[in-house]
């Protein structure tokens, strides 16, 4: 005991010192990270490519989840410019002064896109709805699409699914963390607990195998899915009193959002967004509204 005391004291001192050193190193690393590439973000006015606050200089790094579903993308490849979201990204890029091959795509799971910490992209496009609560954690651009929720069913359940009351008795499903789930909870209030899936694919499988009678998702996705599933139909869409918009997701406080908003505004004014919606998201005009 007498001989061990100095050893123990030394161990304690060393531990405390190394912990202190760790935290000091964190500070130093953070200082380095605080000023990343291409400065000039102080001058809010200029949106020229050279002055933009980018993750990787000279390129626009865009993230989306994998797999990339239709009709937002086509053939699972975001870089082919096909599908509504892919087309919007290339239109925005062009507006900002980037050529098509200056756009780089990265994969980012939805669950990781909003967690605290530095992002590895400039913005994320993934049918993400803008809500005030979410806007406290990340920065959203202006909306690029107004989303209505709709329900797909197999033909057998079509009659029941055409009214809100009928839907109450059905087993419904939706993809997790989506406003579809709120539509089910708030508008339908079904008797059975809805099933919640991680991805569109899983939800589609569940519908095919009769695990659920109806799947609620946004109208364009619903339309595309029902074209893929034989014997299914989009039974109706929800009347949205406060429709939500899809926005591009940026790291909290990223100044790039201002220039992107300008670009989106220009595209809206020129009618480009409407035209792209006509091109990629049409065919859903005849879906009745659920009462």
């Amino acid at each position: 005991m007498r001989m061990r005391t100095p050893a123990v004291v030394a161990a304690v001192v060393l531990t405390a010192a190394s912990l202190a050193a760790c935290s000091a190193k964190n500070d130093a690393a953070d200082d380095a990270a605080a000023s990343p590439t291409a400065g000039g973000s102080a001058s809010a006015g200029s949106c020229a490519p050279a002055d933009l606050h980018l993750y990787s200089a000279g390129k626009l790094t865009v993230a989306t989840d994998s797999p990339a579903y239709a009709p937002w993308f086509k053939k699972g490849d975001p870089s082919n410019g096909q599908g509504y979201e892919s087309a919007v990204v290339y239109a925005v890029a062009k507006q900002l002064g980037f050529s098509a091959d200056q756009v780089t795509w990265v994969k980012e799971a939805f669950n990781n896109s909003y967690t605290p910490g530095d992002k590895k992209f400039d913005f994320d496009i993934n049918q993400i709805s803008i809500t005030p609560e979410r806007a406290r954690v990340v920065t959203f651009s202006d909306g690029y699409y107004t989303a209505n929720q709709a329900v797909i069913t197999l033909d057998a359940k079509k009659a029941e699914a055409s009214s809100l009351d009928g839907l109450k008795g059905l087993k419904l499903g939706a993809v997790t963390a989506s406003t579809s789930l709120s539509a089910i909870r708030d508008d339908v209030r079904p008797s059975a607990q809805p099933l919640v899936f991680d991805t569109d694919d899983q939800a589609k499988q569940a519908l095919l195998h009769h695990q659920i009678d109806g799947l609620v998702t946004d109208l364009p996705s619903a339309g595309y899915m029902s074209s893929e599933i034989a014997g299914s139909v989009v039974a109706g869409q929800f009347a949205n009193s406060a429709p939500e918009e899809f926005g591009l997701l940026f790291q909290q406080g990223n100044p790039l959002v201002e220039c992107v908003d300008q670009a989106l505004g220009a595209l809206k004014d020129a009618g480009t967004l409407d035209q792209l919606q006509q091109q990629w998201l049409s065919g859903m005009e005849n879906v009745p509204t659920l009462q």
Partner: protein, 280 residues
């Protein structure tokens, strides 16, 4: 007859021993406080702490997510309470079957070996997905369609394999003279196994069995991939919708509340077993 009273030297020795013990206790306390304090200090002064706290420890999100995570956890509990007895029954049958010598059970013996190898080799989450999604896909009459069972059955299969091996190890560890004693008394192999060997095997392997029990309780979270509303699914849904991770914290808390008493019990049983064996 004289009554013993401590000598002066003994009194002196006792005093010194007490003093040394007190110093040791004091040093332990100081070291613990210093180290923990330093760790806490690093945490609280880190630059990302406010963001971390807002994301994981937000009181409003805690209150908001609490009801739905609680509701979800009730499902986890139910799955656990049903799965555990099923695991024990299945594992016992598999373990005993492997040790049997009856020719009638030969195909089952082979099946047991295949079963334990297969289900210890495939990740549990894959089994959950394959069974949970595959079974309805087959569209056969008579197969379970309720998601409760589609989630519980794969868990029972996976854990059954592990527990079967643990029980088999227990059976093999029983002294061979116990078999001889039982057979010498005229018991059949089956009687000897179920009345003599198996009860002893189970007593021997209580600590690893308890470990598997705690592990199963945690793994009920795996059924979230089937879309059922259990604790993890509820937490992830809140997280994804509100962009806040406090719900995950709530779910973890629930799992701990069940697991910690179980692990303490496991520890106690294990130490008691060791004391018994060494004290013999």
């Amino acid at each position: 007859m004289s009554v013993w009273a401590p000598s002066a030297r003994q009194i002196e020795r006792a005093r010194i021993t007490r003093q040394m013990r007190r110093r040791r206790a004091l040093l332990s306390a100081v070291v613990t406080v210093t180290v923990l304090g330093a760790v806490l200090a690093v945490f609280l002064t880190s630059p990302g702490w406010p963001a971390f706290r807002a994301y994981f420890l937000s009181w409003s999100d805690f209150k908001g997510a609490f009801p739905s995570v609680s509701q979800g956890f009730w499902l986890n509990l139910r799955v656990f309470l049903v799965a555990e007895p099923c695991v024990l029954v299945l594992a016992s049958l598999v373990a005993v079957c492997r040790q049997s010598r009856s020719p009638w059970l030969a195909p089952l013996r082979l099946l047991s070996v295949v079963y334990t190898d297969l289900f210890r080799g495939v990740p549990s989450i894959l089994v959950v997905v394959l069974v949970g999604v595959g079974t309805p896909a087959l569209q056969l009459n008579g197969l379970p369609t309720s998601l409760f069972w589609l989630g519980t059955i794969p868990l029972v299969l996976c854990y059954g394999a592990y527990v079967a091996e643990v029980l088999r190890a227990g059976i093999l560890a029983v002294h061979p003279t116990q078999w001889s004693s039982a057979e010498a008394l005229g018991l059949s192999r089956t009687q000897a196994m179920w009345r003599v060997i198996f009860p002893q095997a189970v007593r021997r392997v209580v600590p690893p069995l308890m470990n598997d029990l705690v592990s199963l309780q945690k793994d009920t979270a795996l059924i979230s991939v089937l879309g059922v509303w259990e604790a993890l699914r509820a937490a992830q849904d809140w997280q994804g919708y509100h962009f806040n991770g406090t719900a995950l914290f709530v779910a973890s808390m629930y799992f701990l509340v069940v697991a910690v008493p179980l692990t303490r019990l496991t520890d106690w049983l294990m130490l008691r077993q060791i004391r018994r064996e060494q004290g013999r």
